[in-house]
């Protein structure tokens, strides 16, 4: 059991990356990127495939251990030591492109797993919490189904409920709609819109430019492992300065 997080509102960023670098062999995936994620704000990371945006996101909760730079959570530098990482990860939710639901557990058990294992909730408490979260993402009727019985959009909404179960201080989305057809994309984006309007802190790697324009407070445009532009959606998406961004957004 860990101590209850202090409810004091941090004046600084919730999550901060300083000079992150990550290489895979001889390929530099992220080459010195800094990022500040303020509480209650939505940061969208856009860019062409292979620009390093997913790698950057995965560096934020150390699914990729950065080669250089540091990550600060609520003002404290996080080291790649197991205990500290578990604490960071239990407070930062993550939603994956391939959903990664646990196929051997029922939908409600997927959501209840971390509250039971990490926070030590009883089965009844965890089920109550789980059913509440599934209702929020519109899946009340699927609580006792197996993940394999759900559509892609439903699976991703269940995965969002799972990420919310630890009452995270920030949510990371790694191309959450890229594995979905356009019809199913809408229902996932609708849930993410609601979360944003409720003041969730979110970092979203996405190809959905319209979603970024409508929901994001800040847009970061990356190419070749570097941040090319950052600013408000109207600055970066509608009036990009760099050639690379102008080509990407087709402006």
């Amino acid at each position: 059991m860990q101590p209850e997080p202090t409810p004091v509102v941090q004046p600084g960023p919730v999550l901060e990356a300083r000079g992150i670098e990550k290489r895979f062999g001889s390929v530099s995936a992220v080459a010195g990127v800094s990022l500040e994620v303020m509480a209650g704000r939505v940061t969208a990371i856009l860019g062409p495939s292979g620009s390093g945006k997913s790698t950057l996101l995965r560096c934020l909760n150390f699914l990729e251990v950065p080669d250089a730079g540091e990550v600060l959570f609520q003002g404290k530098a996080v080291r790649a030591r197991d205990r500290e990482l578990d604490a960071l990860r239990s407070r930062v939710g993550m939603v994956f492109q391939q959903f990664n639901l646990f196929p051997h557990l029922l939908v409600w058990e997927n959501v209840a797993l971390a509250p039971r294992a990490v926070r030590g909730l009883s089965k009844a408490e965890a089920r109550r919490l789980s059913l509440g979260l599934l209702a929020r993402v519109g899946l009340s009727d699927k609580a006792d189904a197996h993940p394999s019985q759900l559509s892609g959009g439903q699976q991703q909404r269940a995965a969002i409920a799972r990420a919310l179960a630890m009452e995270p201080a920030a949510l990371l989305f790694d191309e959450p709609t890229s594995a979905l057809d356009p019809e199913l994309t809408g229902e996932v984006l609708a849930v993410m819109r609601t979360l944003a309007s409720e003041g969730s802190t979110m970092v979203v790697v996405t190809h959905e430019v319209e979603f970024a324009r409508a929901v994001a407070h800040e847009v970061v445009f990356m190419d070749a492992g570097k941040v090319v532009e950052r600013g408000t959606p109207s600055e970066v998406i509608d009036a990009p300065v760099s050639d690379r961004a102008r080509r990407f957004f087709g402006g």
């Binding site: 909760n61 699914l63 197991d82 578990d86 604490a87 990860r89 239990s90 407070r91 939710g93 993550m94 994956f96 391939q98 990664n100 639901l101 646990f102 196929p103 051997h104 797993l113 971390a114 294992a117 990490v118 197996h146 394999s148 995965a159 799972r162 990420a163 179960a165 630890m166």
Partner: protein, 273 residues
């Protein structure tokens, strides 16, 4: 082999061709044999003699199998460990245990390792303690064979578990870790349950192999069904009847196990990854 619909066994085969003919044929042969056995006093006597070893055969299998899976699980975690010492110890064990015939392992455990271990314990315990009076002959042969079978099968199970673990999509471990689960929790609650479902058919095979290899206890004079059949045959010279009956008994046991594993598999198949 692969039908026009891409299925391994074509799905539109008729009911007649899907029936388990092999099982019916076997059942027929068994009932003819059973009828002969029931009407013949010699068969009844042989059957009784062999059956007195059934407890040992089943006991060795039932004790050795869970221990082998436990050893295999620990070894598999060593095989996939990033820690070089653990990985090398696990690999050394698997290669040695897989590379030496089980019969040779049984002799080595029974006549080399157990006496050595007993010597060691006596030395540790001192002359006057309870350990000091321990003798190698206090360790029953059945226990030595079980130890040897666990050692041999632990290596197979290690490879099976390792294969199952590494076949899981990487996203499963990532999702578990991203939720804040520790390494151990991710293994226990997410990875191993899925691994177990995947390797169930292989585990079933290994259980059947182990049941058959439990017949090796007879080389140490432990009275399992094989030993009982040999004893009966050599004292009456009724080799044909004794050995046929022995083979049929093994066949009945392994078929029962195979059907049990099939049923378990069926239960898990629908929602396994």
């Amino acid at each position: 082999m692969i039908g026009p619909d891409g299925q391994l066994t074509s799905g539109n085969a008729g009911r007649l061709s899907r029936a388990p003919w092999w099982l019916l044929l076997l059942a027929f042969a068994a009932s003819v044999f059973a009828w002969r056995a029931m009407t013949s006093e010699i068969y009844a006597e042989i059957f009784k003699a062999i059956l007195s070893g059934l407890g040992v055969t089943l006991g060795v299998t039932v004790i050795a199998f869970p221990l082998a899976i436990g050893l295999g699980l620990v070894t598999a975690l060593g095989l996939v460990s990033p820690h070089p010492l653990r990985r090398n110890i696990a690999t050394l064990y698997v290669q040695v245990a897989r590379g030496v015939p089980i019969l040779v392992q049984i002799f080595i455990v029974a006549f080399v390792l157990v006496p050595l271990g007993v010597e060691g314990l006596r030395w540790l315990g001192g002359a006057n303690s309870a350990l000091g009076s321990l003798r190698a002959s206090d360790v029953p042969m059945a226990a030595r064979v079980i130890a040897a079978l666990v050692c041999a099968y632990g290596a197979f199970e290690a490879e099976t578990v390792r294969g199952g673990l590494t076949s899981l999509p990487r996203g499963q471990a990532e999702a578990a870790r991203a939720l804040g689960l520790s390494r151990g929790q991710a293994l226990r609650r997410v990875l191993l349950p899925q691994t177990f479902r995947r390797i169930l058919p292989t585990l079933g095979n290994d259980l059947i192999s182990l049941l058959k290899d439990s017949s090796l206890v007879s080389v140490l004079g432990v009275r399992d069904i094989t030993q009982e059949a040999r004893l009966y045959a050599s004292s009456t010279f009724r080799y044909t009847e004794s050995l046929t009956l022995l083979a049929l008994l093994y066949l009945a046991l392994t078929l029962l196990l195979a059907l049990g594993v099939k049923a378990l598999e069926h239960r898990y198949r629908r929602h396994a990854a």
